[in-house]
């Protein structure tokens, strides 16, 4: 197995990954609908977490407004489908273009005028808030009353229009999560990947080595925005309803960065592990509360907070790096080559 994107990956990693993937492909045959919906959530957070991680984990650009790209992607594809009957497979290109354009605009404003670090993060929040207010008042897409997709008949899956059962969404999101992983894996080994890591570690030194900071920061913001918007497209067609107050809200932006933070920022497996842990534990908590007959509002948020606290205090690099050591999967790039 020597596909070009696997160049340099230890074979142990490949075997374990193949087994995991096979298990996930077979999973819907054995699992009930509830477990499938949980896995869908996990894949969704793993996917958008990976997209966010590209920007923060690789290139060190903190975005706290990634719900913006989810929302733009969701609204663009949903509006084209509802108003013009355009298939989401065509609509997603518009979603990508709109999100990439908006990401590019934010990046341009920030990087041209030297807005960096915390101030950059605030700018991303501001744009997500602009979008929330604008969509609240945009009646073509329902305004604050929400925008609804016609609910599909689950008897028959219509992949062309993304109308169908949770199992269909399960496979679509699984493919996206795997795809995002492979894309990030390849990017990390490319020129851009090296340059992003260099910029993350020391912008001054990176620039002294001939790296055009503006260009490579723009690349990562546009790419991350585009990737995130695809998550939004699936989000819209899975939930069938969009409310600006929910989609663009800052709590959504925070929610989607929890998985990579808990799993391990800047690692390829971090967003995936983080999404599994967080979602599985949160759903488990839900189940326990239900069977115990307790109804505590906000318990999930408290749970997320506790998780974050524990990870930040005891595993500041996230769950994945120590876990990788245990699984002996912490081979670093280039270590397979003899000598130097």
């Amino acid at each position: 197995m020597t596909a070009p994107w696997l160049d340099g990956a230890p074979s142990r990693e490949i075997i374990l990954l193949s087994l995991l993937l096979a298990a996930l492909i077979l999973f819907p045959l054995l699992a009930n609908d509830y477990l499938i919906t949980v896995l869908i959530l996990i894949f969704y957070f793993a996917y958008v977490g990976q997209a966010w991680n590209l920007m923060m984990g690789f290139a060190g650009q903190l975005s706290l407004g990634h719900a913006l790209y989810v929302g733009l992607g969701a609204y663009a594809a949903a509006a084209l489908y509802v108003h013009f009957g355009i298939s989401p497979w065509l609509g997603l290109w518009v979603s990508v273009a709109v999100a990439a354009g908006t990401g590019g605009l934010i990046g341009f404003l920030a990087f041209r005028f030297g807005v960096a670090g915390v101030y950059f993060a605030i700018l991303t929040i501001a744009f997500a808030e602009f979008a929330r207010l604008a969509f609240d008042h945009w009646s073509w897409v329902g305004g604050s009353a929400g925008f609804f997709l016609p609910v599909a008949n689950y008897a028959k899956n219509d992949l062309v229009n993304l109308r169908g059962s949770p199992t269909m969404f399960y496979y679509v999101l699984l493919a996206m999560t795997v795809g995002a992983f492979l894309v990030c894996h390849a990017l990390l080994r490319s020129r851009a990947g090296y340059y992003w890591l260099a910029i993350r570690e020391s912008p001054e030194a990176a620039q002294a080595l001939g790296i055009n900071l503006f260009r490579y920061r723009m690349y990562v913001v546009v790419l991350s925005a585009a990737m995130t918007s695809l998550g939004g497209v699936v989000f819209a067609f899975y939930y069938n309803n969009l409310f600006p107050e929910q989609v663009f809200h800052i709590s959504r932006s925070i929610e989607l960065i929890l998985a990579p933070i808990i799993g391990g920022i800047g690692t390829l497996f971090g967003p995936i592990i983080g999404a599994f842990l967080l979602t599985a534990l949160a759903e488990g908590l839900d189940e326990i509360m239900r069977t115990a007959g307790l109804d505590v509002p906000g318990v999930k948020q408290i749970f997320y907070g506790v998780c974050l606290l524990v990870v930040v205090m005891f595993l500041p690099d996230g769950v994945w790096p120590p876990l990788a050591k245990v699984l002996r999967l912490d081979g670093q790039r280039g270590q397979d080559q003899p000598g130097c």
Binding site: Y194, A198, E201, E204, A208, L209, R333, C340
Partner: protein, 241 residues
């Protein structure tokens, strides 16, 4: 023939403090020029002006005949100028090898080619035993070596070294001196170095420029310059004379 690096009357103020005033000197192709002076003389500011970190308020800087003052550091690097930082700036989370690969990518078409090139540079600097260690775990002398390796990997025409010998043991200094002599002789690499370790300056440079209070107070062969009363005064004080 014009010099590879021409510095003509450059100045830079930091809110009233005249860090560099009307400094001019040339670095001919293939030369090793030392830039010395007491602490706070403006040596590093001078480097930062040449490397594009600051824009000079007056004067001109030419690299191989092209004006580069006002260019960004990455443009100046691509024009053929490599530099190290006095306060080393390793990519701490990356391995030694990855650090050097980032530099090598500037002149390589592929990551694979950059890795091969980086491996050679890592070996030249004697870092091969540490090539998979994170740069953040290196000792200071090794970090200095890594600074040089990264800059060399960009295949510069002129290399600006900012106190790379500081903190090295004498044997390590001699080894570094040997490396620069070799690069200079074999590849014709031009070097401009800020250095306090006179052992290294004397061994490498045939021409030395002395800065004091942001101004050039002497220039010439190292032997002559170190006997110059103005230079002795700025280092040792008036009473010592």
């Amino acid at each position: 023939m014009a010099a590879l690096l021409e510095i003509a009357g450059i100045s830079k103020n930091f809110s009233g403090l005249k860090a560099v005033q009307n400094v001019s000197f040339n670095v001919p192709e293939g030369a090793i020029v030392g830039l010395i002076g007491p602490n706070g003389a403006g040596k590093t500011t001078c480097f930062n002006l040449v490397a594009g970190v600051y824009r000079p308020e007056a004067g001109e800087i030419r690299l191989a005949g092209r004006r580069i003052d006002g260019w960004r550091p990455d443009q100046i690097c691509r024009a053929g100028l490599g530099r190290t930082f006095q306060l080393v700036k390793p990519f701490a989370g990356l391995t030694v090898m990855e650090n050097v690969v980032v530099g090598a990518l500037k002149q390589s078409h592929s990551v694979r080619a950059a890795k091969q090139l980086a491996a050679r540079v890592v070996e030249q600097l004697g870092l091969q035993s540490k090539c998979h260690e994170p740069a953040g775990s290196l000792t200071l002398p090794d970090r200095k070596r890594l600074e040089v390796a990264r800059a060399l990997a960009t295949a510069p025409r002129i290399l600006l070294l900012d106190e790379v010998m500081a903190g090295l043991r004498p044997t390590e200094t001699d080894r570094m001196v040997g490396l620069f002599k070799d690069l200079n002789a074999r590849l014709g690499l031009t070097i401009l170095m800020i250095e306090h370790v006179m052992r290294a300056v004397m061994a490498l440079s045939r021409h030395v420029v002395v800065l004091h209070h942001g101004q050039v107070i002497a220039a010439g062969a190292p032997g002559e310059v170190t006997r110059d009363p103005a230079v002795l005064e700025c280092y040792l004080g008036e009473d010592a004379l």
